[in-house]
């Protein structure tokens, strides 16, 4: 067993490259999906009923299908429509599209719970439309949504593991390639699990910190 772990340790550079890919995919995917989610949340709270229905259908579809199915859809089905991406971009695209729906739903939920006073005060001061949304509503919504966004971030990190199936060189893919070369299944995958655990612990600690800051602000 110790010998197995030392084999993994000798190949730690491969594991770290996988970890880097997982980190880059998750953070860029999260940021992009949060940006799209911000627009979608506004669409979900819009006055125009057509806009609301269309966005609702889109968001609900994303929340209904498994992530892997969407990744396959982007990877295999988009090329048949003439859109070609490599594995890495397909993976990122799948993460962004999938999580934009979840982010929109998280932000909308928090927004609906927001006290009316600050929004009314904002409009009394002459803020309206996007200006009101981005400067008055959104900062409060994002701050209050941090715990849920943190949970979603953990979900995203775990979802990136699915991307090994479409040959994206992320952490689980790296562990799997070490295991298939040296046949050290336990050591390879346990090392990957430990790294996932570390990433999630960092996020949880970060969320707790932000929650404390949010409490002080209130």
């Amino acid at each position: 067993m110790i010998r197995d772990f030392s084999i993994v340790f000798e190949n730690v550079d491969r594991l770290l490259i996988g970890l880097m890919n997982t980190l880059v995919l998750s953070t860029s995917g999260l940021l992009l999906s949060l940006l799209i989610g911000i627009v979608f949340a506004a669409a979900l709270m819009a006055d125009n009923r057509f806009v609301v229905r269309l966005t609702r259908a889109l968001v609900d579809t994303m929340r209904c299908i498994p992530f892997l199915l969407l990744a396959y859809l982007v990877y295999y089905a988009l090329p048949s429509l003439g859109l070609n991406f490599n594995n890495w971009t397909s993976g990122l695209l799948a993460i962004v599209v999938y999580n934009a729906g979840y982010m929109a739903e998280i932000l909308r939920g928090v927004w609906a719970q927001l006290p009316r006073e600050s929004i009314d005060a904002g409009s009394a001061f002459g803020f309206y439309g996007w200006n009101l949304y981005l400067r008055i509503i959104l900062p409060q919504v994002v701050l209050a949504a941090i715990p849920m966004i943190g949970n979603q971030s953990i979900q995203v990190i775990k979802d990136t593991a699915f991307l090994m199936i479409i040959a994206v060189p992320e952490l689980t893919h790296a562990a799997s390639s070490i295991q298939s070369k040296y046949y050290v299944p336990f050591a390879a995958f346990i090392s990957a699990v430990a790294l996932y655990w570390a990433m999630c612990s960092v996020i949880e600690a970060g969320v707790r910190r932000v929650e404390r800051i949010a409490q002080v602000r209130r």
């Binding site: 396959y72 089905a77 699915f162």
Partner: protein
Amino acid sequence: MTSADLISLLQGAAVTVALSLAAIVIGVPLGLGFAILVWRRIPLVQLIVKTYVSLIRATPLVTLGLLIYFALPAVGLQTGPVTAAILTLAINTTAFNCEIWRAGLMDFPKDQLDSAQAFGMSWPHTFRRIMLPQLARTCLPALVNEMTLLLKGSPAIAVVGIVDVTRAAVRIGANTYEPLPPFLLATALYAAIVFVFVRAQRWLERPSKLDEVRV
């Protein structure tokens, strides 16, 4: 897509539902058992359960599946794909169910336990007659939510060689060079399965005759 393709997709759906249900049947009661161990602050056991929950919450299903499928035979336990798949899903969902039950237990009003004790009820009796009926109610929405999450994570078991809906759709797409129709059909199948779970929750939550008596 031929009718044979359609049948293989439906078979995949049956596999997805069967394996997920197996994991739920194992995971819901086991999660409750673990939650009680933490709630009663059993030393050491509580620490082990907490570590297990924290680890599994952070582990992707794909990684867990690969670990179980490849590492168990290495320590001498031979598992087929089906056993490995059920184990993977059950180990995962048990951890999340444990968290849900634990939250329910923490919120359980203490005065009810005190009154049960005052009436001379034993702990198993209190649990069965006082706690469980209420816990099941309060935890049900979260448990069903976790079941739908499990269903959405279940395509991960493709890595141990199980042909579920997603895998069946990929195969059909690869054979016909037209991946879009099977993928869309698979999407509809998942939506239908999740819908059934949510409806089952509504049905379980329906007001019972007991409630009327209580009011």
